[in-house]
Symmetry: C2
Subunit: 172 residues, 2 copies
DNA sequence: TCGATCATGTAATTGGTTACATGATTGC
DNA sequence: GCAATCATGTAACCAATTACATGATCGA
Protein backbone atom coordinates (compact mmCIF):
# COMPACT_ATOMS: atom_id res chain seq x y z
CA UNK A 1 0.00 0.00 0.00
CA UNK A 2 1.47 3.35 -0.99
CA UNK A 3 1.79 6.57 0.99
CA UNK A 4 -1.45 7.97 -0.37
CA UNK A 5 -3.58 5.05 0.74
CA UNK A 6 -2.10 5.07 4.23
CA UNK A 7 -2.78 8.79 4.61
CA UNK A 8 -6.34 8.23 3.38
CA UNK A 9 -6.65 5.38 5.89
CA UNK A 10 -5.81 7.67 8.80
CA UNK A 11 -8.22 10.31 7.50
CA UNK A 12 -11.07 7.74 7.41
CA UNK A 13 -11.51 8.19 11.16
CA UNK A 14 -10.97 11.91 11.57
CA UNK A 15 -9.66 15.05 9.85
CA UNK A 16 -6.02 15.84 10.50
CA UNK A 17 -3.23 18.20 9.51
CA UNK A 18 -0.06 16.99 7.80
CA UNK A 19 1.75 17.40 11.08
CA UNK A 20 -0.76 15.25 12.92
CA UNK A 21 -0.58 12.60 10.20
CA UNK A 22 3.18 12.41 10.70
CA UNK A 23 2.59 11.83 14.42
CA UNK A 24 0.00 9.15 13.70
CA UNK A 25 2.82 7.06 12.28
CA UNK A 26 4.97 7.33 15.34
CA UNK A 27 2.94 5.24 17.77
CA UNK A 28 2.04 1.67 16.92
CA UNK A 29 2.48 2.16 13.19
CA UNK A 30 6.13 3.13 13.24
CA UNK A 31 7.66 -0.36 13.48
CA UNK A 32 6.21 -1.51 10.17
CA UNK A 33 5.76 1.70 8.19
CA UNK A 34 6.57 5.40 8.19
CA UNK A 35 6.69 8.61 6.15
CA UNK A 36 8.61 11.87 6.34
CA UNK A 37 7.23 15.38 5.80
CA UNK A 38 8.99 15.40 2.46
CA UNK A 39 6.53 12.82 1.23
CA UNK A 40 3.48 13.67 3.33
CA UNK A 41 2.98 17.29 2.23
CA UNK A 42 3.47 16.73 -1.51
CA UNK A 43 1.16 13.69 -1.29
CA UNK A 44 -1.54 15.73 0.45
CA UNK A 45 -1.24 18.49 -2.17
CA UNK A 46 -1.64 15.98 -4.96
CA UNK A 47 -4.58 14.29 -3.26
CA UNK A 48 -6.36 17.62 -2.94
CA UNK A 49 -5.96 18.24 -6.67
CA UNK A 50 -7.38 14.79 -7.35
CA UNK A 51 -10.37 15.47 -5.12
CA UNK A 52 -9.58 12.73 -2.58
CA UNK A 53 -9.30 15.19 0.29
CA UNK A 54 -10.34 18.72 1.09
CA UNK A 55 -7.99 21.17 2.84
CA UNK A 56 -9.28 23.98 5.02
CA UNK A 57 -6.74 26.64 6.01
CA UNK A 58 -7.32 27.62 9.62
CA UNK A 59 -6.20 31.11 10.66
CA UNK A 60 -5.71 30.88 14.39
CA UNK A 61 -4.94 33.80 16.68
CA UNK A 62 -2.88 31.45 18.85
CA UNK A 63 -0.52 28.95 17.35
CA UNK A 64 0.66 28.59 13.76
CA UNK A 65 -1.79 28.39 10.93
CA UNK A 66 -2.66 24.89 9.87
CA UNK A 67 -4.41 23.09 7.08
CA UNK A 68 -6.93 20.53 8.17
CA UNK A 69 -7.33 17.65 5.74
CA UNK A 70 -10.71 15.98 5.40
CA UNK A 71 -11.34 12.92 3.27
CA UNK A 72 -14.02 13.30 0.57
CA UNK A 73 -16.61 10.73 -0.54
CA UNK A 74 -14.40 10.05 -3.55
CA UNK A 75 -11.41 9.60 -1.23
CA UNK A 76 -13.31 7.06 0.86
CA UNK A 77 -14.27 5.18 -2.27
CA UNK A 78 -10.69 5.07 -3.52
CA UNK A 79 -9.37 3.96 -0.11
CA UNK A 80 -11.87 1.13 0.20
CA UNK A 81 -11.10 -0.08 -3.31
CA UNK A 82 -7.40 -0.15 -2.50
CA UNK A 83 -8.03 -1.96 0.78
CA UNK A 84 -10.07 -4.62 -1.01
CA UNK A 85 -7.37 -5.40 -3.55
CA UNK A 86 -5.70 -8.75 -2.94
CA UNK A 87 -2.09 -8.57 -1.78
CA UNK A 88 0.75 -11.06 -1.65
CA UNK A 89 4.05 -11.45 0.13
CA UNK A 90 6.71 -8.98 -0.96
CA UNK A 91 10.36 -9.99 -0.68
CA UNK A 92 11.80 -8.73 2.55
CA UNK A 93 15.19 -7.01 2.28
CA UNK A 94 17.33 -7.97 5.24
CA UNK A 95 20.51 -6.10 6.12
CA UNK A 96 21.42 -8.95 8.46
CA UNK A 97 21.22 -11.67 5.82
CA UNK A 98 23.03 -9.53 3.27
CA UNK A 99 25.91 -9.13 5.70
CA UNK A 100 25.86 -12.75 6.83
CA UNK A 101 26.00 -13.86 3.21
CA UNK A 102 29.49 -12.34 2.90
CA UNK A 103 30.73 -13.20 6.39
CA UNK A 104 33.42 -15.52 4.99
CA UNK A 105 35.45 -12.37 4.31
CA UNK A 106 35.41 -11.30 7.96
CA UNK A 107 37.57 -12.55 10.85
CA UNK A 108 35.75 -14.84 13.35
CA UNK A 109 35.61 -12.29 16.14
CA UNK A 110 34.41 -9.57 13.75
CA UNK A 111 31.59 -11.89 12.66
CA UNK A 112 30.58 -12.60 16.23
CA UNK A 113 30.68 -8.99 17.41
CA UNK A 114 28.88 -7.73 14.30
CA UNK A 115 26.08 -10.29 14.62
CA UNK A 116 25.83 -9.74 18.34
CA UNK A 117 25.54 -5.97 17.93
CA UNK A 118 22.72 -6.55 15.44
CA UNK A 119 21.01 -8.92 17.85
CA UNK A 120 21.12 -6.26 20.55
CA UNK A 121 19.59 -3.69 18.19
CA UNK A 122 16.69 -6.04 17.47
CA UNK A 123 16.19 -6.65 21.22
CA UNK A 124 16.11 -2.89 21.69
CA UNK A 125 13.28 -2.46 19.18
CA UNK A 126 11.48 -5.41 20.77
CA UNK A 127 11.69 -3.78 24.20
CA UNK A 128 10.44 -0.46 22.84
CA UNK A 129 7.45 -2.26 21.37
CA UNK A 130 6.79 -4.07 24.65
CA UNK A 131 6.87 -0.82 26.60
CA UNK A 132 4.36 0.77 24.17
CA UNK A 133 1.74 -1.76 25.25
CA UNK A 134 -0.43 0.37 27.57
CA UNK A 135 -0.47 3.25 25.10
CA UNK A 136 -1.47 0.98 22.23
CA UNK A 137 -4.07 -0.93 24.22
CA UNK A 138 -5.70 2.39 25.09
CA UNK A 139 -5.89 3.71 21.54
CA UNK A 140 -5.99 0.77 19.14
CA UNK A 141 -9.05 -0.91 17.71
CA UNK A 142 -9.37 -4.68 17.52
CA UNK A 143 -7.34 -5.00 14.32
CA UNK A 144 -4.67 -2.59 15.36
CA UNK A 145 -4.31 -4.71 18.48
CA UNK A 146 -3.86 -7.76 16.25
CA UNK A 147 -1.12 -5.78 14.48
CA UNK A 148 0.55 -5.12 17.80
CA UNK A 149 0.40 -8.75 18.87
CA UNK A 150 1.69 -9.81 15.48
CA UNK A 151 4.56 -7.38 15.96
CA UNK A 152 5.41 -8.75 19.41
CA UNK A 153 5.52 -12.31 18.10
CA UNK A 154 7.48 -11.18 15.06
CA UNK A 155 10.26 -9.69 17.18
CA UNK A 156 10.20 -12.62 19.57
CA UNK A 157 10.69 -15.00 16.61
CA UNK A 158 13.29 -12.78 15.00
CA UNK A 159 15.30 -12.55 18.24
CA UNK A 160 15.27 -16.32 18.62
CA UNK A 161 16.26 -16.80 14.99
CA UNK A 162 19.18 -14.38 15.21
CA UNK A 163 20.23 -15.86 18.57
CA UNK A 164 20.46 -19.27 16.91
CA UNK A 165 22.59 -17.83 14.12
CA UNK A 166 24.83 -16.05 16.64
CA UNK A 167 25.20 -19.32 18.55
CA UNK A 168 26.23 -21.11 15.35
CA UNK A 169 28.81 -18.38 14.73
CA UNK A 170 30.19 -18.81 18.24
CA UNK A 171 31.08 -22.47 17.97
CA UNK A 172 34.00 -22.23 15.58
CA UNK B 1 24.26 -2.48 2.32
CA UNK B 2 23.82 -0.80 -1.05
CA UNK B 3 23.89 -2.28 -4.55
CA UNK B 4 27.54 -1.44 -5.08
CA UNK B 5 28.72 -3.33 -1.99
CA UNK B 6 26.68 -6.39 -2.89
CA UNK B 7 28.11 -6.43 -6.43
CA UNK B 8 31.62 -6.07 -4.99
CA UNK B 9 30.83 -8.91 -2.59
CA UNK B 10 30.00 -11.26 -5.44
CA UNK B 11 33.14 -10.18 -7.31
CA UNK B 12 35.30 -11.03 -4.27
CA UNK B 13 35.14 -14.70 -5.24
CA UNK B 14 35.40 -14.51 -9.00
CA UNK B 15 35.18 -12.18 -12.00
CA UNK B 16 31.75 -11.95 -13.58
CA UNK B 17 29.78 -10.10 -16.24
CA UNK B 18 26.79 -7.92 -15.42
CA UNK B 19 24.57 -10.67 -16.72
CA UNK B 20 26.14 -13.25 -14.44
CA UNK B 21 25.86 -10.90 -11.47
CA UNK B 22 22.13 -10.63 -12.11
CA UNK B 23 21.89 -14.41 -12.05
CA UNK B 24 23.89 -14.60 -8.85
CA UNK B 25 20.97 -12.88 -7.13
CA UNK B 26 18.43 -15.38 -8.31
CA UNK B 27 19.42 -18.42 -6.27
CA UNK B 28 19.64 -18.20 -2.49
CA UNK B 29 20.03 -14.44 -2.44
CA UNK B 30 16.73 -13.58 -4.09
CA UNK B 31 14.44 -13.92 -1.08
CA UNK B 32 16.17 -11.18 0.88
CA UNK B 33 17.67 -8.95 -1.82
CA UNK B 34 17.75 -8.33 -5.57
CA UNK B 35 18.73 -5.96 -8.35
CA UNK B 36 17.61 -5.32 -11.92
CA UNK B 37 19.81 -4.67 -14.96
CA UNK B 38 18.74 -1.06 -14.78
CA UNK B 39 20.73 -0.68 -11.59
CA UNK B 40 23.47 -3.26 -12.16
CA UNK B 41 24.95 -1.85 -15.38
CA UNK B 42 25.03 1.80 -14.31
CA UNK B 43 26.52 0.74 -10.95
CA UNK B 44 29.25 -1.28 -12.70
CA UNK B 45 30.06 1.66 -14.98
CA UNK B 46 30.38 3.98 -12.01
CA UNK B 47 32.50 1.51 -10.09
CA UNK B 48 34.92 1.21 -13.00
CA UNK B 49 35.35 4.98 -13.05
CA UNK B 50 36.05 4.92 -9.33
CA UNK B 51 38.66 2.21 -9.76
CA UNK B 52 36.81 -0.41 -7.69
CA UNK B 53 36.58 -2.84 -10.60
CA UNK B 54 38.25 -3.39 -13.95
CA UNK B 55 36.24 -4.28 -17.06
CA UNK B 56 37.70 -6.34 -19.89
CA UNK B 57 35.72 -6.43 -23.12
CA UNK B 58 35.83 -9.91 -24.55
CA UNK B 59 35.37 -10.29 -28.31
CA UNK B 60 34.18 -13.81 -28.81
CA UNK B 61 33.73 -15.52 -32.14
CA UNK B 62 30.85 -17.50 -30.65
CA UNK B 63 28.27 -15.85 -28.46
CA UNK B 64 27.68 -12.16 -27.76
CA UNK B 65 30.51 -9.93 -26.60
CA UNK B 66 30.73 -9.51 -22.90
CA UNK B 67 32.50 -7.40 -20.33
CA UNK B 68 34.12 -9.30 -17.54
CA UNK B 69 34.28 -7.39 -14.28
CA UNK B 70 37.20 -7.98 -11.94
CA UNK B 71 37.49 -6.43 -8.52
CA UNK B 72 40.62 -4.34 -7.90
CA UNK B 73 42.72 -4.14 -4.72
CA UNK B 74 40.98 -0.82 -4.01
CA UNK B 75 37.61 -2.51 -4.54
CA UNK B 76 38.47 -5.25 -2.06
CA UNK B 77 39.54 -2.67 0.47
CA UNK B 78 36.30 -0.70 0.08
CA UNK B 79 34.18 -3.85 0.32
CA UNK B 80 35.88 -5.06 3.49
CA UNK B 81 35.52 -1.63 5.10
CA UNK B 82 31.80 -1.65 4.30
CA UNK B 83 31.41 -5.19 5.63
CA UNK B 84 33.12 -4.24 8.89
CA UNK B 85 30.80 -1.30 9.56
CA UNK B 86 28.37 -1.97 12.39
CA UNK B 87 24.75 -2.31 11.36
CA UNK B 88 21.47 -2.16 13.22
CA UNK B 89 17.89 -3.27 12.70
CA UNK B 90 16.05 -1.34 10.02
CA UNK B 91 12.30 -1.01 10.30
CA UNK B 92 10.62 -3.72 8.25
CA UNK B 93 7.79 -2.52 6.03
CA UNK B 94 4.96 -5.02 6.07
CA UNK B 95 2.15 -4.93 3.55
CA UNK B 96 0.23 -7.38 5.74
CA UNK B 97 0.34 -5.21 8.86
CA UNK B 98 -0.47 -2.07 6.90
CA UNK B 99 -3.60 -3.74 5.59
CA UNK B 100 -4.53 -5.33 8.90
CA UNK B 101 -4.20 -1.92 10.57
CA UNK B 102 -7.17 -0.66 8.54
CA UNK B 103 -9.20 -3.89 8.55
CA UNK B 104 -12.01 -2.24 10.54
CA UNK B 105 -13.17 -0.74 7.22
CA UNK B 106 -13.59 -4.14 5.60
CA UNK B 107 -16.45 -6.64 5.92
CA UNK B 108 -15.68 -9.76 8.03
CA UNK B 109 -15.51 -12.15 5.11
CA UNK B 110 -13.34 -9.74 3.12
CA UNK B 111 -10.94 -9.60 6.04
CA UNK B 112 -10.75 -13.37 6.27
CA UNK B 113 -10.29 -14.02 2.57
CA UNK B 114 -7.74 -11.23 2.21
CA UNK B 115 -5.65 -12.49 5.14
CA UNK B 116 -5.96 -16.08 4.01
CA UNK B 117 -4.81 -15.24 0.49
CA UNK B 118 -1.78 -13.50 1.97
CA UNK B 119 -1.06 -16.52 4.15
CA UNK B 120 -1.09 -18.76 1.09
CA UNK B 121 1.34 -16.45 -0.72
CA UNK B 122 3.75 -16.68 2.20
CA UNK B 123 3.44 -20.48 2.24
CA UNK B 124 4.24 -20.46 -1.45
CA UNK B 125 7.50 -18.56 -0.93
CA UNK B 126 8.31 -20.87 1.98
CA UNK B 127 7.85 -23.94 -0.23
CA UNK B 128 9.99 -22.44 -2.99
CA UNK B 129 12.75 -21.87 -0.46
CA UNK B 130 12.42 -25.43 0.85
CA UNK B 131 12.69 -26.86 -2.64
CA UNK B 132 15.88 -24.84 -3.31
CA UNK B 133 17.66 -26.77 -0.55
CA UNK B 134 19.77 -29.22 -2.61
CA UNK B 135 20.88 -26.46 -4.96
CA UNK B 136 21.89 -24.18 -2.10
CA UNK B 137 23.61 -26.91 -0.11
CA UNK B 138 25.72 -27.68 -3.16
CA UNK B 139 26.84 -24.11 -3.80
CA UNK B 140 26.73 -22.19 -0.54
CA UNK B 141 29.56 -21.65 1.90
CA UNK B 142 29.09 -22.03 5.64
CA UNK B 143 27.67 -18.54 6.12
CA UNK B 144 25.42 -18.68 3.12
CA UNK B 145 24.05 -21.90 4.58
CA UNK B 146 23.37 -20.04 7.81
CA UNK B 147 21.48 -17.48 5.70
CA UNK B 148 19.41 -20.25 4.19
CA UNK B 149 18.59 -21.82 7.53
CA UNK B 150 17.74 -18.38 8.91
CA UNK B 151 15.41 -17.92 5.95
CA UNK B 152 13.69 -21.26 6.53
CA UNK B 153 13.06 -20.46 10.17
CA UNK B 154 11.97 -16.93 9.26
CA UNK B 155 9.25 -18.21 6.96
CA UNK B 156 8.24 -20.94 9.38
CA UNK B 157 7.80 -18.29 12.10
CA UNK B 158 6.06 -15.89 9.77
CA UNK B 159 3.60 -18.56 8.62
CA UNK B 160 2.77 -19.46 12.22
CA UNK B 161 2.37 -15.80 13.14
CA UNK B 162 0.03 -15.07 10.24
CA UNK B 163 -1.89 -18.29 10.91
CA UNK B 164 -2.55 -17.10 14.45
CA UNK B 165 -3.79 -13.75 13.17
CA UNK B 166 -6.01 -15.47 10.60
CA UNK B 167 -7.40 -17.67 13.37
CA UNK B 168 -8.19 -14.60 15.46
CA UNK B 169 -9.98 -13.09 12.47
CA UNK B 170 -12.02 -16.25 12.03
CA UNK B 171 -13.63 -16.27 15.44
CA UNK B 172 -15.92 -13.31 15.10
C1' DT C 1 15.86 33.30 27.03
C1' DC C 2 16.16 29.00 25.36
C1' DG C 3 14.74 24.59 23.96
C1' DA C 4 10.76 21.93 22.70
C1' DT C 5 6.90 21.52 20.05
C1' DC C 6 3.74 23.13 16.59
C1' DA C 7 3.38 23.84 11.69
C1' DT C 8 4.22 23.89 6.40
C1' DG C 9 6.65 23.44 2.69
C1' DT C 10 10.54 23.01 -1.24
C1' DA C 11 14.90 21.35 -3.51
C1' DA C 12 18.32 18.22 -4.12
C1' DT C 13 19.45 13.77 -4.01
C1' DT C 14 19.14 8.74 -3.64
C1' DG C 15 18.27 4.43 -5.16
C1' DG C 16 15.98 2.05 -7.29
C1' DT C 17 12.23 -0.14 -11.22
C1' DT C 18 10.10 -0.81 -15.82
C1' DA C 19 10.05 -0.37 -20.40
C1' DC C 20 12.54 0.24 -24.35
C1' DA C 21 16.20 -0.92 -27.82
C1' DT C 22 19.29 -4.21 -29.91
C1' DG C 23 21.18 -8.32 -31.49
C1' DA C 24 23.73 -12.90 -31.55
C1' DT C 25 23.61 -17.97 -30.52
C1' DT C 26 21.87 -22.43 -29.26
C1' DG C 27 18.86 -26.22 -29.08
C1' DC C 28 14.61 -28.26 -30.45
C1' DG D 1 12.13 -21.47 -38.10
C1' DC D 2 11.28 -20.26 -33.51
C1' DA D 3 11.76 -19.90 -28.64
C1' DA D 4 14.95 -19.55 -25.00
C1' DT D 5 19.00 -17.80 -23.33
C1' DC D 6 23.01 -14.89 -23.54
C1' DA D 7 24.40 -10.12 -23.38
C1' DT D 8 24.52 -4.84 -22.73
C1' DG D 9 22.73 -0.77 -22.15
C1' DT D 10 19.59 3.74 -21.86
C1' DA D 11 15.50 6.66 -20.76
C1' DA D 12 11.62 7.58 -18.32
C1' DC D 13 9.75 7.27 -14.20
C1' DC D 14 8.80 6.61 -9.16
C1' DA D 15 8.81 6.84 -4.32
C1' DA D 16 11.03 8.14 -1.01
C1' DT D 17 14.67 10.60 2.18
C1' DT D 18 17.51 14.48 3.87
C1' DA D 19 18.57 18.93 4.18
C1' DC D 20 17.08 23.36 3.79
C1' DA D 21 14.03 27.37 4.83
C1' DT D 22 10.81 29.68 7.87
C1' DG D 23 8.48 31.09 11.75
C1' DA D 24 5.17 31.16 15.84
C1' DT D 25 4.13 29.75 20.60
C1' DC D 26 4.72 27.66 25.13
C1' DG D 27 6.71 26.30 29.33
C1' DA D 28 10.68 26.16 32.51
Amino acid sequence: MDARSILLGFLMNRSMTGYELKKAFSISFSFFSGLSYGSIYPALGKMEKEGLIRMQAEMRKSGPNRKICTITAEGRKVFLETLKEPFAFEGTKSIFLTRLFFFAHLAPEERRSSAHRYFESVRQVEKTLQRARPEIEAKADRFQLLCYRFGLRFFEDLSRNIAQTVKALEKE
